[in-house]
Symmetry: C2
Subunit: 162 residues, 2 copies
DNA sequence: ACCATATTGTCAAGAGGCCTGACGATATGT
DNA sequence: ACATATCGTCAGGCCTCTTGACAATATGGT
């Protein structure tokens, strides 16, 4: 059912400190993404796929270029181009020529796309509330603060080198 | 470089409570998996892929059946079969007939596989230490406890229903 | 104005990772 | 003995993402 619910289940309990983080992070991401798609479908956006998230999350209301979008999502422009073309075909946004650059095209939300964008934000808020209801605001705040620090540290410009 | 480093970056800062969890979880998982592969390659296991984790983590030293393995990893036996065949070809383990069931085959680690299995556990411990060094033992403990509760709650048998 | 170089978006091809459907071989319960 | 379920496999397909190559356009130096 869930994608990789208990990857790492075996290795976990035997460690004194408890399960390794990866064994918690992975199923949580899977759950979050499933829940997000569920909420989106419930809001009438039943043709969005998991991969579209990279677009919905990184394309601001003002529009953006394909290459910028791909960069922000951490993937190639070709991969992003596929997602974008799909969403264009589905009526979520359109491509407009960039007035400042003849090569570039600006991706601009259509009405349906703007609604989907907002639905995504609303879904995030909803899921966040669900999480808070389970673990409490206090612990959640610690988690958020700690993971934020971790992300900053691990993704610092010099951290991964090369 | 990183796979989807800042998915959700855009939507984050504007929320009063801070960035949504998914914007932290996703890059952390990506980082963890990259780091794991790095450590494995450093230990001489440079032919393992991300997907192999499901095997390394869910196949105990005593061996296991394909179907069990697939179940534990949350994927189909066909998908797991592909991973297994690949690892068998690479000399990590072998298939033996299950003496108690003529249909089944037992997957048993070879020497190289056992070493890789241990290297995975060692890599987990190393990464865990790196994490602790960044955020401190105290916060890490809270994170682990909180996320554990979350995983239990979201993956309870009746939680996702239907 | 000209030209080398870099960048934008696209086409083509393919790998990787997963899925559904169908199947022979084997177990199991009646 | 026979119906039924399960084990592993073959076949085929979808989705996501990659590398390589390319025409069109920008940009900076001469």
């Amino acid at each position: 059912m869930g994608r990789e619910l208990d990857v790492a289940t075996a290795a976990l309990q035997r460690r004194p400190e408890g399960p390794p983080l990866i064994g918690l992070l992975t199923p949580l991401v899977a759950w979050w993404e499933d829940r997000h798609l569920e909420l989106m479908a419930g809001a009438g956006f039943d043709d969005v796929r998991r991969a579209h998230n990279a677009v919905f999350v990184n394309l601001p209301a003002e529009g953006r270029r394909l290459t910028d979008l791909a960069d922000a999502a951490g993937m190639t422009k070709q991969a992003m181009g596929e997602l974008v073309d799909d969403l264009v075909a589905k009526g979520y946004f359109r491509k407009e020529p960039d007035p400042t650059d003849g090569r570039a095209k600006l991706l601009v939300w259509d009405e349906r796309g703007l609604a989907a964008h907002e639905a995504t934000m609303a879904a995030f808020a909803t899921i966040e509330d669900e999480v808070a209801a389970i673990v409490g605001d206090e612990d959640l705040a610690v988690v958020r603060r700690t993971l934020s620090a971790l992300v900053r540290a691990t993704h610092a410009p010099h951290a991964r080198s090369t």
